[in-house]
Symmetry: C2
Amino acid sequence: VDKMSLKWLSLLLLLQLTCYFSSGRCGKVLVWPMEYSHWINMKIILEELVTRGHEVTVLKSSAAILVDPNKSPTIKFESFPASVSQEDYENFFQQLLTEWIQGAKHSFWTKITTAQNIFSELSDVSLKICKDAVLNKKLMTKLQESRFDVILADPIIPCAELVAEILNIPLVYSLRISPGYSIEKFSGKLPFPPSYVPVVMSEFNDHMTFTERVNNMLYVVFLDFWFQTFNEKKWNQFYSEALGKSCFLFVSHEDLTPGISLLQEMEEFVQSAGEHGIVLFTLGSMIRNMTEERANTIASAFAQIPQKVLWKYEGKKPDTLGPNTRLYKWIPQNDLLGHPQTKAFITHGGANGVYEAIYHGIPMVGLPLFGDQPDNIAHMTAKGAAVRLDLDTMSRTDLVNALKQVINNPFYKENVMRLSTIQHDQPVKPLDRAVFWIEFVMRHKGAKHLRPAAHDLTWYQYHSLDVIGFLLACVATAAFALTRGCLFCCRKLANARKKAKRQ
Amino acid sequence: VDKMSLKWLSLLLLLQLTCYFSSGRCGKVLVWPMEYSHWINMKIILEELVTRGHEVTVLKSSAAILVDPNKSPTIKFESFPASVSQEDYENFFQQLLTEWIQGAKHSFWTKITTAQNIFSELSDVSLKICKDAVLNKKLMTKLQESRFDVILADPIIPCAELVAEILNIPLVYSLRISPGYSIEKFSGKLPFPPSYVPVVMSEFNDHMTFTERVNNMLYVVFLDFWFQTFNEKKWNQFYSEALGKSCFLFVSHEDLTPGISLLQEMEEFVQSAGEHGIVLFTLGSMIRNMTEERANTIASAFAQIPQKVLWKYEGKKPDTLGPNTRLYKWIPQNDLLGHPQTKAFITHGGANGVYEAIYHGIPMVGLPLFGDQPDNIAHMTAKGAAVRLDLDTMSRTDLVNALKQVINNPFYKENVMRLSTIQHDQPVKPLDRAVFWIEFVMRHKGAKHLRPAAHDLTWYQYHSLDVIGFLLACVATAAFALTRGCLFCCRKLANARKKAKRQ
């Protein structure tokens, strides 16, 4: 045995011990993944679970994209053949994206109808892949024999509940937010009074005018109706009472460590910016391209500012690109946001980017496209931490002015720093908290005591409509009886008088 | 400088450093205390704050009882003369107690009416003492000059909000539960759907039958109405918008360290019990006495069991007292519950005792008297961790059988052990969590971002009644217009036909 192996052996032992101490014993975690930013979020938790000695297995269809799965050699992947090709699957997402970005430009009703169509399409593809897994006897037998302790999933697409039911293991959801908050409302049974909780995609905040509250109420009624239809039609035969053992993890702050591993070329470019610092521009993990005209407008705006600009962009190099701007196919976004040279962040408003910017205290220029992005940017604007522009219609001057504002006006920096201070100030690090509750569900084989009793009520019982109806019926009966009684008495009295008169 | 002083100096430095590291700087905490078990709870948090280097000052009226204030030499007391004597104040509480225990024996309506009277009386006395403090110019000037960072209070009695407003400092509430959950509902703006959240003193749990839900709804309507009357009438001139800066700490688990410091005599008695172990019997910090007849019944029951019994009792020694039972004026309840010899706990069901019993996994016999005690015991009975008896009517045999059940039937031990496991399994110790949020409020000078926007809505806005009314009016107008339009068309058509016929 050489020295190196001994080192590895002791490291492995240490990992094993970490797990034994923190949770009693090491667990086996099965994962039903979602794509793009949802997968990026999930992976952070999975890697931490592996670090603590748990065995993590991701169920991966042959169509799955799973950005950078090779970068996590510690996570196991259990593959199964899908009836959809990976190319079709990826094209499907890119098409969805185009559709959604188009739809997101219009009124709430167009947005929500587009979202409905998109989720309906996503539902169909997901159902195919779900069937590919669940009806794959060999796979299911292998999973059954592996005796997992818990299944971790993103509730944005169904299937994990069914797998949990078949394998008879508890289920933990990791979710940022769902369209129309339907999942939190119906599966998590969280109360959402529409008077101060704005609907997703409404772009309202918690202080609404009367008109906004009227709209919010209409949205709620529509979404409540819409979600149920969507859910029941497509998955009825695949759904059962599987939600009984579920537990929710809400991702609302991320756990981030300041970046240190910048690529050398990037680092030199960033340092060359001097006192003016740098601006970072990305549009997330899904967007790869934009029209040439837009790219030129943006590039010409960048050419006018004293900062150096790092732009994540895979399209054709714009003609107007200035010497202060460099294009990259990929950038370490969180590392760069944590860099002391960074002055501003131009973002599409994806939740991860926004949380990273808040964490590092970087003011934002928001160019929201679809999904929760307009909401996220609306909230940042309300907090005074961002300026919002429209990617399609903004002029060169608009972008230059917005950048000057967030960089030079201390208002934005102060506001985002206040948010940053609050985000840092938590009793437990969010990643530790996520891992704690996953381990908790493994330890206690579920978390039934955390389930609100609302799950066991019908909708009319939940809203006490039967009780209110009964009480109103009682009042009505009493009123009726009283009136009849009075009338009866009056008549008797009248008869008595008549008789008296006659006599 | 001798060695001892150096040791103390370094210890002090260490404490100072603890505080600097955990919260940035040391803070000054002002406390508006409540009596009995509420004070016992509060003191645990105060002592921890002192340990972490904060300066804690308790506002203490000359009437204040504050059980064992001398045992906390590290907490400062700022005294002020009260217009009530301590004797009158203590008698007032004892009288309240008798009244409440009597009332608690009857229906919900009697219970709640009694509670209303009691809170109304408590409100009057508290108002007197509040005026004694607030109108004491010398005291208020001194407090103003002391520049406190935060005021900590129990919201069960008002006044702290006013002091916070005058001193212009943020307020933190520490609360277990309020009568009719009014404080959480109205000041904390927590949603409480009456379909599965039972009202305090209802003794229902979260799974209610239709009849129970009807009753619960009636209670809610009554309590909502009742609480507002109580609050507005008595404190109007003392209340302002002071609640704006508040933050809630809900005490629902206690942080307990296993007891080690048993008195030697007690320890010998406990050890002499051998394999049968011991039974612990206390009725809390307020009850001191019971009728001779009841005491004799209880003592004769104890004489029949093989366990040794430790009984906290200040009354006359019962004639039927067996050799296996000893009376004590005071017992270290938590230490004894943590003793490996302890087999069962006979309790009035106060929240502290119940949480301590859960923590140490000791099954209970509940003899609830008043306040939240019947609820606490109802929940323990529903979880299979306790047997409930009535102190006034139980026979010797009832008590003997109940004790035999919880000691010999593994059902009770298993259930309470499951609760214990869950209670121990938390990401942060409850005491650390309480201290964290108090320090958080000091650091950020309030916690406005944690305030639900519901605070800025009127009651009809909160329930969206204006929006619903408006939408119904729209529907009605549309229906009316449509009907009128149809009628108009019909008439036109009829007229046209008539004309056609005539021609």
